[in-house]
Amino acid sequence: MIMPIHDPVRIGVYVCHCGMNIASRVDVEDVRAFAQSLPGVAAARTYKFMCSDPGQEMIQKDIKEHGLNRVVVASCSPLLHEHTFRRACAAAGMNPFYLQMANIREQVSWVTPDRAQATRKARALIHAAVRRVADHYPLAKERVNVHPAILVVGGGIAGIQAALLLANAGKKVYLVEREPSIGGHMAQLDKTFPTLDCSACILTPKMSQIRTHPNITLWTYAEIEEVAGFAGNFKVKVRRKPRYVKEELCVGCSECVSACVFKEGRVSDEFNQGLSKRKPIYMPFPQATPNVVVIDPRSCLKIMRGKCAMKCVEACLRAAIDFEQREEHAEIEVGAIILATGYRTFDARKIPEYGYGRFPNVYTMLEVERLVNAAGPTGGDITLRDGARPQTVGIIHCVGSRDRRHHPYCSNVCCMASLKMAHLVKERTGAEVFNFYIDMRATFKGYEEFYDQVLREGVQFIRGRVAEVTDWAIRSAEKGKLVIRVEDTLVGVVRRIPVDMVVLATAMEPQEDAAAVQRKFNISCSQDGFFLERHPKLGPVSTFSDGIFLAGVCQGPKDIPASVAQAGAAAAEALCLVDKGFVEIEPNTAFIDEAACSGCRTCIPLCPFQAITRDAVKGVAVINQALCKGCGTCVAACPSGAAGQNMFTDAQIYDEIEGVLADV
C-alpha cells in the first residue's frame, strides 16, 4: 500500500451524454450542477461523447489547468471505458487509480424510464463516486507472464479450426473432446449448403491434420474436470475415460469388431442417430479421428459381467485391447482457453402435434442426414422404415425454434438446411417435396441464389407453420399417409397434404450440461442458455472471464461458415493474449497492517490461493502479492481489522455508501 497524498483533494466530474443514450433520460446539466456543488469538486463538465478524443482532452486539460488530483467520469459501464479514462489520466500525469467511474448508462438511463427518477439516481451514483474517489491512493498494475499453451474444448468444426490455426502459428494446443472421435455434428452431415460440397470431403482432411500436427495434443473421450487460475495462467484438470483400447497401438483395422462375440449390432448407434445398431466394440464412424476403436462399458459382456470369450482380444494382432484400462487424470497449464462445445438438437417429442416417436415415418433432420449419407445405415438410400421409397416428403421448419413454449430464438441454420435437404431428397428420390416455413431466411453469401435454385427445381414452398401431423384420413388418398395440416397463409386457406415422410428441422439448443460448463469456466450464459459473449458486436468471441474465448454454436446458433469464421476470431484473440507474453493484473490485492496484526493465523487456512504465510520473526501475516487474487476472504475474516484490500478499503466503501445514501 502506498500512502495517500496529503494535497487537498481536487476532483473533476465529467458527465457524458453518450449521444442520446444518457441525455434522453438523465438531465445531464442538472447532474453537472449538482456535482459542481459537492465538496472537493473543482470542475464539473458535460460532453456529448466523453470517450472521444475531445472528451479525453478536456479531462487532461483540466487536470493540468485546475490541478485536479481525482477524476470521476459518469458515463457507461467501467467494463467498456475504464481503461480509456485511466489511460487518459495517466497521459496527463495522474496516477490512473485516482479515477472512479459512475455508471449512469447501464445502471440508470437504460433501465429507468422516468426522467426525474433517472436524474436523481444519477446524482446519487455521482455523489457516491465523488465521496469514494477522495479516499483513493495511487496504485500500480503488476505484470504476470503468460503460459504459451492453449486449450481448445470441443472437437467439432469450430474447435478443429481454432486448434489448427493456433498450432500452425506455432502454439502448443490441447484439444479435448468428450466423444471418442472429433468431427462433431459436421461429420454427420451429408452435403453442406449452399455449395453442396460433401461434408466429409472437406472435414476429414482437417481431422487428420489434427491427428498428425506436432503442436497438437488430442485427447478424445475426455472431459474437463476443473479449471483454476486466471487469464495467462490457467490450471486445468482433464479426465480421460478408459476406452479399453490402447490408442497408441490400435491402427483401426477393426478386426476386433468383426470378431466380437455379438455377430450383429445390438446397441443403438449414436452416430447414426439410432437408425442402426452397433456392437459393444466399435469404430464410431469410418473417418473417426483418432482411428481407434472403443469399447462401450454399458454393453460389453466382459466389462458388465466379467465373463466373455473375448474374441476381440484374440483378433487383435497388436494386443491393443486392454480391459485393465482405468480413468486417467492429467493436469495442464495454459494461457488461454477456447470453448467450442457445440449444441444438441431439440427433442421433437416435446411438440406432440408433429407425432415424432408416435408415427415411424416422422424423422428429424439429422436422422435424414444419416439416411442420405452413403456411409449411413441405408447406404445413402432415402427410405421409409419399411424400406419403401417416399413419393412425397414434407419438411417442417422451425421445430422448437421461434416458439415461446420452447425456444424463442431463430436457430439460424434450419431454413438453409431444409432447402438443402429438399434438394437432396428430390435429386435422389424424385419425390414431391413440400417445405413448410414461416419466414425464409437465406441471408448469407450465396444463400438466396441457392433458394432460387431449389425453387426452380420444383420444390413446393408453403408459407405456414404446420399445426399437426396426423394419421386421421378424410379422403381415400390420405389413407395410410401422414397428413400435414397447415394454413397456406399466402392463399389464406387451410390445406391438408398427405405425405409419406415428414422431416422435422429441429432447433439447435445449448448442450444439456451447458450450465455446468458455464460454472466450471466461470463465464456467463445468455437467457437462451448459450454462452454469453462479452459484447454482441465488439467482443463477439470474448467472455467476461479474461482469457476464455468462444467459438461455434456454444455461443449461439450458427452454420458452418459462421462457426469457422468465429473459430478464426477466437484463435486470433487467444494468440493476442499468449503472444503478448504477459498480463497486467488489477492491483486489488489484500495487504496487512503489521501494526494491527496479532498474528492469530485466522486468515491463513481461509485463503483459497495459499497466498498468506506467517512471518515468524515479526509474528504477523504476510500476503504474497503474486498469489493474491483479491477475493477479500481474509479481509472479511480478520478479527483485528489488520487485513485490508486495495481499491476496496473500508474508508472507500463506507464513503461510497454514505454518498449514495446522502439524498435518501
Binding site: E353, R402, R404, R405, G464, V466, T489, V493
Partner: protein, 209 residues
C-alpha cells in the same frame, strides 16, 4: 357474351382505425396481439377455420392493422367455439381465444354483428337468462334464439325436444337457484357499475406460462 365483373380494391390508410388494434391488445388476454408472426398455426389447428371467410390469422392481421369494420362484421369471430386449440398451439403464446372474446364483446357492444346471425343472439339470450335467474335453462334459451333468428327452424327441433322430454332431459320449468338470488344480483350490479367506471383493461401482472 357477358364480361366478368371486375372491381378495384385498395385500402386507404385514413379509412383504417389504428386505435382498434391497440384497444383489443389492451383487453385481458389481448396483450400479445402485436407479437403475431402470421405463421397460421391458429388457422390450421382451428376445426372451424374451414368455414371462416377469413382465417383467425387474417383476423389478427386485420385487427392490428385497423380493419375494424371488416373484423367486427366477420363471421369468423362468431364461429369460434372456444375450444382453445389455437391458444395452446400458438408458438407466440397469443391467447387467440381471448382475442376472439374481446372482438365478440366489441361487436355486441357496437351492435355490428351480422344480421339474423344466431350465435350472437344465443350469447345475448344466455347472458340475460343468467342475469335474471342465476342459471341457464337450455330449452328456453334455444327457443328464444330460434324465434328471433329463424323461427321455421323450431319445427325441425320439435321431434328432438319431445324425445328429450320423454327421457327427462328437458326441463320445461325455469331452472332457479336454491337461494342467493339477491346476493347474485348485487354482485352483478356492482361488477357492472365498477366496469363502467374503469374498464377492466389492464395488462397482466405476470406472464401466464
Amino acid at each position: 357474351m357477358s364480361h366478368p365483373r371486375i372491381t378495384w380494391r385498395v385500402k386507404y390508410q385514413e379509412d383504417l382505425d389504428l386505435a382498434f388494434g391497440r384497444e383489443i391488445a389492451a383487453r385481458p388476454g389481448g396483450e400479445d396481439l402485436y407479437r403475431c408472426i402470421q405463421c397460421g398455426t391458429c388457422s390450421s389447428t382451428c376445426p372451424l377455420s374451414i368455414y371462416m371467410e377469413r382465417t383467425p390469422r387474417q383476423i389478427i392481421a386485420m385487427a392490428r392493422a385497423g380493419f375494424k369494420d371488416e373484423v367486427l362484421a366477420s363471421h369468423t369471430i362468431w364461429l369460434c367455439t372456444s375450444c382453445y386449440a389455437c391458444t395452446v398451439d400458438c408458438p407466440k403464446q397469443i391467447k387467440i381465444t381471448d382475442i376472439m372474446y374481446a372482438l365478440k364483446q366489441k361487436a355486441l357492444g357496437e351492435k355490428v354483428y351480422p344480421a339474423r346471425f344466431p350465435i350472437p343472439v344465443l350469447a345475448k339470450e344466455f347472458f340475460q337468462a343468467v342475469r335474471r335467474t342465476g342459471r341457464s335453462n337450455e330449452s328456453r334459451i334455444v327457443v328464444r334464439m330460434f324465434l328471433q333468428t329463424r323461427p321455421w327452424k323450431l319445427l325441425g327441433n320439435i321431434r328432438l325436444g319431445l324425445k328429450l322430454l320423454r327421457r327427462g332431459r328437458l326441463a320445461l320449468r325455469r331452472e332457479k337457484m336454491d337461494g342467493g338470488q339477491a346476493q347474485l344480483r348485487m354482485l352483478l350490479q356492482t361488477t357492472r357499475r365498477l366496469e363502467n367506471q374503469t374498464p377492466a383493461r389492464s395488462p397482466p401482472l405476470a406472464e401466464s406460462h
